[in-house]
C-alpha cells in the first residue's frame, strides 16, 4: 500500500512529499518527491547584483540563513577577487556559530515534537529566541538577516553585545543539560531512538551524506577542521563524533556540536573585544548596483565591470557540507550560481535509512536528518 506523507503532513517540516510503500506497519519502499518549494534561486541570481543575492540566501534555509549568506559571500568574494578584513572573518564565525546553535535548537525542538513530546519544543523555541534577539541586535532582522556584504559585513557589533553574548552562552549551557535530562534520561526516548535509521559509515560516504549524520557514523569529517575557512583555523574546538550511526547518535552529535559552538563563540567574543578594526574591505563599492533600473527610469544605464573569476566555497553548514560555485564572467550579475545543499543529498539517500523500519519511525528518522526544504528545493 502506497501512502503519501506530504506535501501537507506533520512529518515533513516543509513542503515535500514522501511516498511510502508499507506492509502493515513496515516500510518497504520510499520515493521522495521534491520541488514544492522550488523558487529558482539559482536562476534569479543570474539577474541580480552580487549583494542582492544575499537577500535570497536568507530565504534559502529559513533556520540557517546566515550560514548560507556566509557560504555565498565567500564564493562571491573569491569570484570578485575581494579580500575581507580580519575582524570580519571573526564576526562571520561568530554569527555562523550562533546560527548553528539556533538551527540545532530548532532541530531539537522539531525532532522531539516528532516523537510526540511537546514541551521541549517550546523550551527549544524559547531558547532559540534568545539567539534571535542577538541577531536582531546586530543585524536588525530576526529571521532574514542581510548581514554580510561582499567585502565584509554590514556593521560592527553594537556596544555591550559581547557581554550579553557571554551571559547567554552560560545560560544556554544549562539549558543543554536540561535537554539531555528530558531526552537521554528518558527510557522511552532511548527505546524509541536506539538502533533506528542506522546508516553506517561506508554507506554515508557512498551516498554523499554529510554533516551530523556522517559524524554520527564515526567519520571524522568537518570542513571547519579539514579545510578551515574564515577564522576557524585560529580557534580551538573538537569535532563531535559518535559511532552507533542511529538516531540517538545524531542527537548526541548535535548536542555536542552545540557545546563546541558555545566554546567557539566564547573564544571569538574574547578576540573581538581586543581587536577593533574595519569590518569592510577597502576598494569595494558599498552598493553593488541594482538589478533593473527603477520603474519610470528605464533609460538609466548603470554598468560596472569586474575582472573575471570563479569562486568556490564550502562551509560546514548546520546540516552538513554546503558548497557554492559562483562564475563571474565580468558582468554586473554572476553568470551562474550553483549551490550544493547538504539536505538535498542527505534526502536523496533516504531509501537506505528508511526501508525496513516502522511507519512510526519515519518521523524521528526524518527528524534526525534535519530536513530544511527551503535549501533542498532552492
Amino acid at each position: 500500500m502506497w501512502i503519501n506523507m506530504g506535501p501537507q503532513h506533520p512529518m515533513t517540516h516543509g513542503l515535500w512529499n514522501l511516498r511510502v510503500k508499507i506492509d502493515g506497519e513496515i516500510v518497504r519502499d520510499i520515493d521522495p518527491e521534491m520541488g514544492y518549494l522550488h523558487r529558482g534561486i539559482e536562476k534569479i541570481s543570474e539577474d541580480r547584483h552580487y549583494n542582492e543575492i544575499i537577500t535570497l540566501m536568507d530565504r534559502t534555509c529559513y533556520v540557517a540563513g546566515i550560514a548560507w549568506e556566509h557560504l555565498y559571500i565567500q564564493a562571491a568574494e573569491k569570484a570578485l577577487h575581494v579580500v575581507p578584513p580580519e575582524r570580519t572573518l571573526y564576526l562571520r564565525v561568530l554569527v555562523e556559530e550562533m546560527q548553528r546553535l539556533a538551527s540545532h535548537i530548532m532541530w531539537y525542538a522539531a525532532f522531539v515534537q516528532d516523537l510526540g513530546l511537546m514541551s521541549p519544543f517550546l523550551y527549544g523555541m524559547r531558547d532559540r529566541d534568545l539567539l534571535l534577539d542577538h541577531f536582531q541586535s546586530f543585524t536588525g532582522g530576526r529571521l532574514t538577516y542581510e548581514y554580510m556584504r561582499v567585502g565584509g559585513v554590514r556593521n560592527d557589533l553594537p556596544p555591550g553585545t559581547t557581554d550579553r553574548i557571554r551571559k547567554t552562552m552560560d545560560w544556554l549551557m544549562d539549558r543543554f543539560a536540561e535537554y539531555d535530562r528530558l531526552c537521554l534520561g528518558s527510557q522511552i526516548f532511548r527505546t524509541r531512538c536506539d538502533d533506528l535509521g542506522v546508516l553506517k559509515a561506508k554507506d554515508c560516504v557512498t551516498y554523499g551524506v554529510t554533516g551530523p549524520m556522517l559524524r554520527a557514523a564515526g567519520v571524522k569529517r568537518d570542513l571547519r577542521k579539514d579545510r578551515p575557512y574564515a577564522a576557524y583555523d585560529r580557534l580551538e574546538f573538537d569535532i563531535a563524533l559518535a559511532d552507533t550511526a542511529d538516531v540517538t547518535a545524531r542527537y548526541l552529535v548535535r548536542m555536542e556540536e552545540m557545546r563546541q559552538s558555545v566554546r567557539i563563540i566564547r573564544q571569538v567574543v574574547d578576540w573581538l573585544d581586543h581587536h577593533p578594526g574595519p569590518v569592510m574591505a577597502a576598494n569595494v563599492p558599498r552598493w553593488l548596483g541594482a538589478p533593473y533600473a527603477p520603474i519610470g527610469h528605464e533609460g538609466y544605464l548603470l554598468k560596472r565591470h569586474y575582472s573575471k573569476g570563479v569562486g568556490l566555497s564550502a562551509i560546514e553548514e548546520p546540516h552538513g557540507e554546503a558548497t557554492a560555485y559562483v562564475v563571474n564572467e565580468g558582468g554586473e550579475h554572476p553568470y551562474r550560481v550553483k549551490f550544493r545543499s547538504p539536505v538535498f543529498v542527505n534526502l536523496s539517500a533516504a531509501k537506505s535509512y528508511l526501508v525496513g523500519y516502522h511507519v512510526a519511525d519515519i518521523p524521528p528518522i526524518m527528524g534526525s536528518v534535519d530536513v530544511c526544504v527551503g535549501e533542498v528545493d532552492r
Binding site: 534568545l130 553594537p158 547567554t168 535530562r181 534520561g185 563531535a240 569592510m280 538609466y300
Partner: protein, 259 residues
C-alpha cells in the same frame, strides 16, 4: 583532537528511575513558570514599551527589548522629505523593485523633486535602501505592525513615510560605514563633449565644469565640435549614485577604481 560525544553517565536512563528524570525536569519548569511564564502577552505587553521592559526578568542576559538593541530592528521606513536629494539610490539598491520615485512638491519645474514611494506588499525589509541613502534621510524604524485591510494601503507615499518620520520612532542607529577608496566616477576625456548634462543633473552638485584648453588643430585634422569644458567630480561630496553616468549622452563617464 576529536571529542567523542558519548552520553555522560548521569544522563543515561536509569532502569529503576525509568522516566523519573524527565518528569522531574518538567515539574521544575512547572514550578518556575507558576509565577510568570516566559511568554509575552503581545498585544497587551510590548517589548518596545519602556515601562514594560523593567518587568521582564532577564535571567539569561538576552537583549530582549533593551534600549539601543531593540532600536536596531529593521521595520517600516521613515523618510525625511526635507533632506532627500532625489538621488535615486534607494530605488536602485532595492532588490524587490518596491521603491518608486514619485514627484513631490518642492522642486523646480525642470528638475522635479522625487522621493521614494514604497510598496510594502513587495518590500522584504532588507535595509539596502537605508544603507544606500547618502543623506540618512531614509531610515528604518522599529515600527513592525503593518496590517491593512486593503492592498493599496500597503503603498506608502513619500508623505506617508514622512509622517512615520515625524512620529519620532526610534530610528535604526546603525549607519553603514562607507569603505575607504570606494569606486568613483571617472571620465573618459576624449569622448566628452562638455554638454553639462552631468553637472546639471547631479543631485549633490559635486560636478563642476572646468575649462579645458582647446588644442590647436594640426594641419589636416578636424577638431571635434564640442564645448571645451570637462566635468570634475568632487569625490568627497559624490554619493556614487550614477545619475551622471546614465544621463551622459556619449557614455564617457564610468566607474573607476580609486587610484
Amino acid at each position: 583532537m576529536a571529542a567523542s560525544a558519548k552520553p555522560k553517565e548521569e544522563e543515561s536512563p536509569n532502569p529503576v528511575l525509568w522516566v523519573a528524570r524527565p518528569m522531574a525536569t518538567a515539574a521544575r519548569q512547572f514550578v518556575k513558570s507558576l509565577v510568570r511564564p516566559s511568554t509575552i502577552v503581545y498585544p497587551f505587553e510590548r517589548l518596545e514599551d519602556p515601562k514594560f521592559r523593567d518587568q521582564v526578568r532577564v535571567e539569561s542576559g538576552h537583549p530582549i527589548g533593551i534600549g539601543e538593541v531593540w532600536d536596531n530592528y529593521r521595520g517600516v521606513h521613515a523618510l525625511n522629505i526635507a533632506t532627500c536629494i532625489s538621488c535615486n539610490l534607494c530605488a536602485f539598491s532595492c532588490p524587490d523593485l518596491c521603491i518608486e520615485m514619485v514627484t513631490v512638491p518642492g522642486g523646480d519645474p525642470k528638475h522635479p523633486k522625487k522621493c521614494p514611494q514604497i510598496d510594502y506588499g513587495k518590500c522584504s525589509y532588507c535595509g539596502f535602501c537605508s544603507d544606500a541613502c547618502p543623506e540618512g534621510c531614509l531610515t528604518m524604524t522599529t515600527r513592525y505592525e503593518l496590517s491593512v485591510s486593503r492592498r493599496p494601503e500597503m503603498v506608502f507615499s513619500p508623505q506617508k513615510l514622512h509622517e512615520v518620520f515625524e512620529r519620532k520612532l526610534p530610528m535604526n542607529p546603525i549607519r553603514v560605514e562607507r569603505p575607504e577608496n570606494e569606486d568613483a566616477i571617472r571620465l573618459d576625456a576624449p569622448l566628452c563633449i562638455g554638454c553639462n548634462a552631468c553637472a546639471r543633473d547631479c543631485p549633490t552638485n559635486c560636478i563642476t565644469m572646468v575649462d579645458t584648453p582647446k588644442p590647436t588643430a594640426k594641419p589636416g585634422e578636424k577638431l571635434p565640435r564640442r564645448i571645451w569644458k570637462e566635468p570634475v567630480v568632487n569625490d568627497s561630496d559624490c554619493v556614487r549614485c550614477g545619475t551622471c553616468i546614465s544621463v551622459c549622452p556619449k557614455e564617457c563617464l564610468f566607474w573607476g577604481t580609486h587610484p
